[in-house]
Symmetry: C2
Subunit: 332 residues, 2 copies
Amino acid sequence: MKKVTIMDIASMTGVSKATVSMVLNKKDSCISDATRNRILKTAREMHYIPNSIARSLSTNKSGTIGIILPDITNPFFSEIARAIEDGANNRGYNVMFCNSDNNIKKEEKYIELMISKLVDGIIFISGGESRKNLERLTANNIPFVLVDRYVDGYENGYGVYCHNEEGVMQGIKYLYDKGKRKIAFAKGPKGLETSKNRLNGYKRAARQYGIYDSKLIFESDFTIEGGKAVTEYMLSSGTEFDSIFYSSDIMAFGGMKVLLRKGYKIPDDISIIGFDNIRISEFIEPELTTVAQPIYKMGNRSCELLIDIIEGAEISQKLIFFKPELIIRGTA
Amino acid sequence: MKKVTIMDIASMTGVSKATVSMVLNKKDSCISDATRNRILKTAREMHYIPNSIARSLSTNKSGTIGIILPDITNPFFSEIARAIEDGANNRGYNVMFCNSDNNIKKEEKYIELMISKLVDGIIFISGGESRKNLERLTANNIPFVLVDRYVDGYENGYGVYCHNEEGVMQGIKYLYDKGKRKIAFAKGPKGLETSKNRLNGYKRAARQYGIYDSKLIFESDFTIEGGKAVTEYMLSSGTEFDSIFYSSDIMAFGGMKVLLRKGYKIPDDISIIGFDNIRISEFIEPELTTVAQPIYKMGNRSCELLIDIIEGAEISQKLIFFKPELIIRGTA
DNA sequence: CTGAAAGCGCTTACAG
DNA sequence: CTGAAAGCGCTTACAG
């Protein structure tokens, strides 16, 4: 069962491939209605599906965009991926995705793969020291937009971010206003700009209120397990605190788990704030108070930006910042 | 900045494209070491990245597999997608994904897209009445494996499933053994085989224990919102029940939310069981008792199966069934 | 051991 | 209004 090609429908209708190609691509301003209709009709009848690989080879455009993200299983990223796919689909693109696990080597491999697949552009959520990998893209003329996480040296490239620092400051202010003076901070992993930004927000706010104490800062990573581990560590560290600001919602989930288990009442004994506002955060009990990033919007916007770049539209803003917003729920 | 091609490195080394192609593809048994090394070296030096689009056009293989799933944002599906991507990557394939939203029209569109992109195969999580769409694949000679959800008429095609009926029966047995006699069942949406299978499990078990009552069955869908809505409905229906079996974990989350809000104690006032065992289910409080599907394994296995089919390996089993397992935690 | 040539299915000037 | 031809970058018999 051979696939039907443009050639088949050309010979079927008695015209040339060129003509068929033109009408199929709507570049048919100068083709007679009669031929056009004949072609369209037989294309339909033969269930013709264009071979877009062949098309890509001659146009040098694949119509696909790549997403590189740490782990699709993390709700924050899957929500972004969803937004991107919606946006891409909307504009006639499709999407390839890769899980980097924050591993630079994997990133590199995937980037090479995507170059080789001729992706038209990439949406990149960095796993850390990704600068070299991005240089590779630049060298190959593949546009990319960074989302959520800066990459050292690319602060001025295309990107859509959230004002992380400001977001954390809002959260700390809220805790402070509630009378909290010993606010522990669970920071993200080293090497991620996002971690740094959020930590900076914490530091600035804490200093501003005169409650800064470096012993209140604990390092972790952006996973549930990380949240559990750091919380256990905090508890055993001997440092006193009356509230915890987790650098991400899923860390907060892990942390709350530990606290609840040990019999702490949230928010009575201890207040909790997260960061992200992933969908599930309003479904746990107590509902998580968190600094919301407009996740879907960020994903969607990044996709729009990328496609605009690909299609050579005029770009009014290379850097897009969204405002975070404190969502007050049950944990603080 | 022109991309470097096989031609460039051919003229650079003074051999033909054919020779270059052969050594780059390790079909170089009959190429002298000298030439081979020269070619490899200059390829490296020139940062050559093969154009796999061109390659695909001549080999008629794209090296990509497609995933069609309802919504990547649903943890069950993102965990499957992750497993698939890992497996694919492992075997040198990459992955395109599409969110169907259980919408047959979208599915159709995406399938056409994937055919046109020459995907080597598809992993398909059906949104319902997908039979026509699958016929399209068959007609185009594209292998596919179904995961999690049967499609009418394809029960004997390639697929990896979980014994849904049996899983529910285990759960009902557990509740029964705990003394529950009025077990409400929140079923999934019509038109999904998975819903039907799980409902059948409920019916069989309930009848077996002589506690069947059709008034205890409530229809919903596999979302958090669905779980909330159906639970509110149950509560207002006047029907009495001492426990609820939700057809999926995220439904259970939504349901628990409503119950907790109304002041019910779980599991004291009412017991809850979910289905799936998505990762988050052990992080909510109380931890969800649920019937576990081996999600990662199912995804991974489906990918292995598909690639085996693609590569013409011998397939010992077209249908793969995993055993569900009741995970007893805090809600029942 | 290596090269010339055809072909994959399309698009795109160009010519008529 | 339509067709012939070249080209996209690779692979793969085939010939030598």
